[in-house]
Subunit: 232 residues, 2 copies
Amino acid sequence: MRRDDPDTFQLPDTVTLPAQARTVIAALEPLLTEQRRARIEQVIAARSSAVVAVLDGLIDPHNVSAVLRSADAFGVLDVHLIDRPEPFLAAPRISQGADRWVSVVTHNSVEACVRALRARGHRIFVAAVDGVLGPEALAREPAPAIVFGNEHAGVSAELRALADGTYAIPMRGFVQSLNVSVAAAITLHAAMQGRPGNLDAQATEELRARYCLLSVPQAEAIVAEYLRRQQR
Amino acid sequence: MRRDDPDTFQLPDTVTLPAQARTVIAALEPLLTEQRRARIEQVIAARSSAVVAVLDGLIDPHNVSAVLRSADAFGVLDVHLIDRPEPFLAAPRISQGADRWVSVVTHNSVEACVRALRARGHRIFVAAVDGVLGPEALAREPAPAIVFGNEHAGVSAELRALADGTYAIPMRGFVQSLNVSVAAAITLHAAMQGRPGNLDAQATEELRARYCLLSVPQAEAIVAEYLRRQQR
């Protein structure tokens, strides 16, 4: 997909809540259908912060969107992006809205990204032709941050040097590589096997507030009005 | 990807050998480098006819090519196509030549495809929202033919009615479906887990002949010349 396609859009960081999570929920949750509320609770209960996807310089908006869609589908809470000179673009037809449901965290350097991941207890795994771990082995890592690299250059040398380990999807045909969106889907699917949701009460409440915000039209205005009434 | 993109091409059926397999090999194998010969043997030894991919009316050339690439990567020997009014198109940038390394078999009706698969001992599994088997369970099926359906309409009603079972990739996010190329990659990867190559002597020889034919420039002329010399 071309980056100048009019359908692409710049991927925003995760929305900031306009008020405390409990206030946002109190204002918006009563406006949801019972079905929608149940769906939100079901997704939150299955979300895990243990596995993180890291996108290191992906260029094709199709691929960025496809990785976000896989992350959402398999219960990955956070996707981290490492900024390159070009902003990350996504393709709505491919992401199917997944860019809203996954928490996107942007870092302006490899080093900042690695520091943030380590502070949260993650070990960092990069794809490599002679990668040590198969996708199934990543399911046994307590908290893997799995890096998907640029379509042409792969993972940056800087990130490779800082990684804790390597992984590879075993291949047995003539083709030497998989498309990055396909590789990411297989890897995230495998890495999430057997992992239940793991969010604590605070993370659950924040995510509930965000999903309420994303589920109600003109949610910010409604929250502002709710706050005004409370202050009377 | 648009079907009128000048980069697409119509997917041909697998090449017919211009002579007996042993003749093709005798004429061409001496022209291969040692490295190429070793690669061909390695790929053939890992090929399995147990798992078959069936494409039922896929439209996007990107998706067709991506499925072929996954089939090659994970050792799937045969991909079956069910003809629709539109011919199957593939996208060379995505398939990376995989369309040549995988055996493509086209059927002009659902019924003909099902008959051919059953005659080879396959059981047929179609994707369904409430599918019974997960991808890992397909690895325990002796000879699953796994159907990937049209991007919009899914698997045709006719094929669903004839299938032996259903499968689904468990999802736990908001997005309700995966892109078909991603779903196919996860499913074929899982279904091929733990399956070694299984080709008998005859199938091995035919595949060796085909791969020789595809590895040597102007192979058909060389084989013709070889035959002429033999007949002198």
